[in-house]
Amino acid sequence: MAYEIVGKRETRKDAVAKVTGKAKYADDFFERDMLVGKVLRSPHAHAIIKNIDVSKAKALPGVEAVITHKDLPNILYATAGHPWSLDPEHRDVADRLILTDKARLVGDGIAAVVAVDELTAKKALKLIEVEYEVLPFVLDPEKAMLPGAPVIHEEKPDNILGSAKEEIGDCKADFKKADRIFEGVYETSIVQHCHLEIQSAYAYVDTDGRIVIVSSTQIPQIVRRIVGQALGIQWGKIRVIKPYIGGGFGNKQDVIIEPLTAAMTLAVNGRPVRYSLTREECFIDTRTRHAMKFYVRTAVTNEGKMLSLDMKPISNNGAYASHGHTIVMSAGGKFRFLYNYDSMNYEPKTVYTNLPAAGAMRAYGCPQIFFALESHVDDIAREMNIDPVEFRLKNLVSEGKVDPHSGIVVRSFGLPECITKGKQLIKWDEKLKKYKNQKGTKRRGLGMACFSYATGTYPHGFEIGGARIVMNQDGSVQLQIGATEIGQGSDTVLSQIAAEVLGLPLDMVHVISQQDTDISPFDLGAYASRQTFVSGAAVKKAADEVRRKVLEIAAKKIGLSIDQLDIKNARIIEKKLKREICTLEEVAMESYYDPVDAAPITSDVTANVRTNAMAYGVTFVEVEVDMETGRIEVIEIYNVHDSGVIINPQLAEGQVHGGVSMSMGYALSEQMLFDPKTGAPLNNNFLDYKLQTIMDTPDIGADFVEVPDPAGSVGQKSLGENTTISPAPAIRNALLHATGMPVNKLPLTPQKVFENLKESGLL
């Protein structure tokens, strides 16, 4: 189908608000009498709090309240931003208090102060006296599982938060049958989202006695529910407002600061309190990406057909459950849509340690699992002397594949075409020849890696999106959505879907960017690259209804049926003759003011999306390795995506650029470091944690193969997270090609590459 607005490089809806500084983020609202909240954090990685004396802090002039766990309901709650499940078996692990009674990481929140200003609050924190009984701690998940290891949560005496064994087919038989068996161990590091806007919220009690929270969140509806649960109050007593958000990448798909912010306002009789983290606090007491270690074995025939995969990941969860075991399980459900194994054994474990809690981060376990898988696959191809591209093409799944566990069907499969395109872009064959037998101190290498990714969470999670459309007198509309714009561009693409269906120019769709749990349609929020797909289905449905109502009024005027009419550029058209019947404005005016039939045109719908759509993509990269310093420079990099129909190419390219840049950091420089002697963070700031700057970023090639997926309301599939999955393993594989040296642990810093070069005798 040919679209008029879908597929166009339309300017983002919020671009002007953002370049003029008018866009207001959570920190940009001021209330009369606003107080400031700060938190006292544990200096120990693991310690029992024997006693807390807050009397001196309370006595400090300007201090309005001091709170510890003793002042709060003794309710354990879960923070993960998942939809609530009516089935208790499918709920997240409830393992934390708003302020803890036992420190489980350096930085754990022990007490909170509410004061007239930040300086007074900080002074008061120093006056709180805490008596700790320091306990042994553990940072390595494999050590945490050994007998006698420190127990982090009494409910899980072996520190194992979750484990599973999923077997498809007969692995034993396939490994027996195999001509060759390959083994490898692959490890990723702890990294962080590093959204530029740090978590910030403020809360007050309104005239109706309800708690209002304005927060930097991806998931306002879930914040409402979890604040209610954490405080033991009715969910309807809480109202959450989401203004403009300065990036989230999954770290704001977790309810971190809001329960305490609510507790703070309750402690001061409902006066407004702002609780904002510093960047240093953000690094240690929000969420991180799980470091994972993968033990992988593959059974292969001499012809290069992979028969069976045996994968055993160990996921380092840190001190609190957050999304916990769901992440390694979810990744396990997505990666098996890439290659066609006859059998597979997947045996993940998620383990508590005394580190910052790991949670959702862009692509939810897939950057880790595809680093392991795609490194391993390259190792196999290299050992077998087969071109890694050819080896992959031989083993790919095909359209029509059905997963025996989830039942998800591959309905569109553009990956082979993506690979062909990527190969051409990087000039794969030509450069493979050119870079044979390099001897110098600077060596070039080519690498590639593929991925598969789902769109939303169905069938593991439930997927509903809400949309409401109100038509104005001039024929323009307000589009209200529960989906949250956090920078990814959802407001714009959802507006494009509405404009397409309604035959409106995009500037006649006014999207309400702010979500308010009291007003906005119910939607779960920004995660799992779901909104364009799930919320997009809701917008399509709402727009279809408005369109029908408009055409009914117009049809009555002219005496035709509605399927003989169309709306184009805000005018009602008789399809056959392409003749204008009337303007949309005339219809809208009738809907408001007709003395007999007036009924303003609106719609208010929910889409319950009970399907999924597998998306695919590939990275091709060329690197130059400095053999003397171990530095890897990315020379060229291309991501080619099969994300179905691309609704806005400019925004889609932006997603690719950002995802590739994030993955380049994952590959080359980013890693949170902790002192092994104390468990304290060593680089929880932007100076020592090495994000990519513009100096480190090459031109990033973004390309698409658009195969419409029947499950997408306009043929779309996921994209936002997908972009950050395959660059890191592709870079690792390019290092392997350049040097012949496999490095199986991220990040590939100059130091690590240098040490590996030395060990392998290349230096």
Binding site: A15, G21, E197, I198, G489, H657, G658, N685
Partner: protein, 153 residues
């Protein structure tokens, strides 16, 4: 407390401030120029950039007392008569904006480069704006926007 006089976006202000306050705090909390963003508070990310007498400075590590007698431009002062500046328009057109949190600082640094009249190579452009962190865009479209404005000059 100390009284300082400064000009913000063409308007004079005379205000009492705490000697310990940063210019960022005074602009945001006292004068409510909330387009000045706080991303790290220690001069690492560039989100709080403002122009002080035409020079791009991290306002989080610039004491407000030092701004006494100076002219400050924040993002709120860049567009004139409801019309975007060339730099702002280039950021909009090139798709250089995503979450928007780094955008005000980048627009101001770019404005300073444009107003300096310097001719820069691509490598020099990158160095000039490398003090700004952006986690959304991978910098590609930001670079295109900056280059577009400089090429048009």
């Amino acid at each position: 407390m100390k009284k300082i006089s400064l000009n913000v976006n063409g308007k004079p202000y005379s205000i009492d401030i705490d000697m310990r306050e940063s210019l960022l705090e005074v602009l945001r909390d006292r004068l409510h120029f909330t387009g000045v963003k706080q991303g790290c508070s220690v001069g690492e990310c560039g989100a709080c950039t403002v122009l002080i007498d035409g020079t791009a400075i991290d306002s989080c590590i610039y004491l407000a007392v030092w701004a006494d007698g100076k002219s400050i431009t924040t993002i709120e002062g860049v567009s004139k008569d409801g019309k975007l500046s060339k730099v702002q328009q280039a950021f909009v057109d090139e798709g250089a904006v995503q979450c928007g949190f780094c955008t005000p600082g980048l627009v101001l640094t770019t404005t300073a480069i444009v107003e300096s009249g310097k001719k820069l190579t691509e490598e020099e452009i990158k160095r000039e704006i490398s003090g700004h962190l952006c986690r959304c865009t991978g910098y590609n479209k930001i670079f295109n926007a900056v280059k577009k404005v400089l090429d048009e000059e």
